[in-house]
């Protein structure tokens, strides 16, 4: 559902487009041989090319091209075998060349689509306008020196993919779903680590409002937002701001606005804007970027199964609900974990254990999947113990807690604590007889027609056996005995 703002003069629909900047996973930078790793000491991952020393020239990194094509294929997009690098000219302290090498009129990837997953298992197609390669800028640090801004060029020249969506997004929730899905696909492809805290993924958010069904309104752009939550907050604030202006009879100025996550508001950056004119032209230090079909085919042959396909398979082949499948495929690590658990086992039970107990315990302890004390293999063995009747489902939960806290194997815990389920009919009969003898009044009531007392007897028998009795066997013996 789109977001509708009810104004005094009627309804307003929110229209959103996103430009996501995703750092390409590569060893070296887009046009130089210096490293891209995050967190290095200032200006240590900088070559003379990245610092734009006089006479330095760019040479393109093959991996950046590969990753862009790979991502394009993952977005089911048009791959352009001929594309052009342009210079985008502007001055800023952390832009050493005085221009950013980017792709303007002829990007490496054209139109594609992304399917986002909404509540209740619904999906929506969001159009991808294009994907292009460009250089990242350096970093200005404003708060480390009383009178100066300090510039670190470690990030200068790192390869970015700018992925531009069509203005198909209609609510903050859809925007969040879009970013999450895009992130998921990039991580499946291995083309971007999607780490928003480290700035590997940032979004420029374009927001406008209109009367439902009308032409698009004038948009404002909020740059460089680096969390899904902030993206949603920025959209809500900005859409309401625009509605307020329009309802008061004003007009929206097309401009770039800064989202202030501390104050939770957007504000004009016009002072910095002053007549942007990027003077794009083809970079004369480079030639057009060209490759053949074989190059694309080679990359295509190597594509992994992506979340949408995986989800379809989980639902279709494994019988998992669309909701659970969506949860399992969102992160490749989770999907891989789940598939390892489910291999040769009941997929539904496996899914329940991963989503229920495992996620619950990870959440409780603040651990990531990679840090899980329970490996997929061990969880699988636990499932086996349930399946072969060694332990009951209830006991299994106890065992899992113990596994999670101690890192011990399921079988060891079961053995140590003697938790094996009792399926021995003799022992169970004895327990039933004891329970019935001790509760003759209830037996009479049952026999008098009070059927629901069956549950009571079940509970008592289980209690008497310390929870280890096989509930199926109990049920089978208990009922005929009660019925007399």
């Amino acid at each position: 559902m789109g977001m509708i703002i009810q104004g005094a003069t009627g309804d307003w629909e929110v229209v959103i487009g996103l430009e996501v900047h995703a750092q390409v996973t590569s060893n070296a930078k887009l046009f130089s041989g210096s490293a891209t790793e995050y967190g290095a000491e200032q200006n240590t991952q900088v070559s003379f090319v990245d610092a734009a020393m006089p006479g330095m020239l760019p040479v393109i990194n093959e991996m950046a091209v590969r990753q862009a094509v790979r991502t394009g294929l993952g977005l089911k997009a048009q791959i352009n075998k001929f594309s052009v690098f342009d210079r985008k000219n502007y001055f800023y302290a952390d832009l050493p060349q005085g221009y950013q090498i980017s792709q303007y009129l002829q990007p490496i990837v054209g139109e594609g689509t992304l399917t986002i997953d909404l509540k209740d298992g619904e999906t929506k197609e969001i159009g991808i306008t294009r994907l292009h390669l460009e250089q990242d800028a350096g970093k200005s640090i404003h708060d480390q020196h009383p009178s100066m801004t300090l510039v670190d060029l470690n990030r200068s020249g790192v390869a970015l993919m700018e992925i531009v969506s069509e203005p198909d997004i209609r609510s903050p929730e859809e925007a969040a779903a879009y970013v999450k899905k895009l992130r998921s696909i990039l991580r499946y492809l291995g083309t971007c680590d999607g780490n928003m805290e480290e700035g590997s993924m940032r979004a420029d958010v374009n927001v406008s409002v209109r009367r439902p069904g009308d032409e698009f309104g004038t948009r404002c752009e909020m740059k460089n937002i680096n969390s899904v939550r902030f993206i949603q907050q920025a959209i809500i604030f900005e859409a309401n701001r625009q509605v307020d202006i329009l309802e008061a009879g004003g007009e929206i100025d097309q401009e770039t606005r800064l989202y202030d996550s501390v104050k939770g508001e957007t504000r004009s950056m016009r002072s910095k804007e002053e007549a942007h004119d990027y003077r794009y032209f083809p970079d004369p230090d480079l030639l057009p970027l060209e490759f053949d079909d074989a190059f694309v085919e080679e990359i295509k042959a190597d594509l992994p199964e992506l979340p949408d396909e995986k989800k379809d398979r989980f639902v279709g082949d494994l019988g998992i609900t669309p909701y659970d499948a969506g949860v399992l495929v969102a992160e490749k690590e989770v999907a891989d974990y789940f598939e390892a658990v489910a291999k040769g086992r009941d997929a539904k039970i496996s899914a329940n254990w991963v989503i229920g107990e495992l996620f619950g315990n990870l959440n409780r302890t603040g651990k990531s999947l990679a840090e899980s004390p329970v490996s997929a293999d061990e969880l699988g063995k636990l499932v086996d113990l349930i399946k072969d009747g060694t332990i009951s489902n209830r006991i299994a939960k106890e065992v899992f807690e113990e596994m999670f806290d101690s890192g011990k194997a399921a079988a060891d815990i079961v053995k140590e604590k003697g938790l094996e389920q009792v399926s021995d009919t003799g022992a169970i009969e004895q327990a039933i007889d004891d329970v019935m003898a001790a509760n003759m009044d209830k037996v009479e009531e049952y026999r008098g027609g009070k059927d629901k007392l069956l549950g009571f007897f079940m509970g008592q028998v289980m209690k008497a056996t310390g929870g280890k009795a096989n509930p199926g066997v109990v049920n089978k013996i208990l009922k005929p005995k009660l019925d007399g």
Partner: protein, 95 residues
């Protein structure tokens, strides 16, 4: 197309070149003379002509994704007019 004083000022600002007020007019005249002379390019038929992209008929070469450069902070900032602990330093920017 003719440049006026205001346009020259705007272009100078885009190019981040400080031009004294009294120089704007003479500069506009010079630039107009050059641009006026360039107008003759309009006589050339360039219908269906592609802009020149490269002299040699060659393809863009790609480098391998290997770390072959960097790791010399001292040399990177050696020529900086102002620096601080391996950073370049510029007048404080207020965002």
């Amino acid at each position: 197309m003719s440049l006026d004083k205001a346009t020259v000022a705007k272009v100078a600002n885009l190019a981040r070149i400080r031009v004294e007020e009294e120089k704007l007019d003479p500069l506009a005249a010079e630039l107009n003379a050059i641009l006026g002379w360039v107008e003759q390019l309009g006589e050339v038929d360039t219908e269906n002509v592609k802009p020149m992209t490269s002299v040699a008929e060659m393809q863009l070469r790609w480098r391998q994704d290997e770390i072959t450069d960097g790791g010399y902070q001292e040399q990177v900032v050696a020529n900086a007019p102002s620096k601080d602990e391996g950073f370049f330093a510029v007048p404080k920017v207020i965002e």
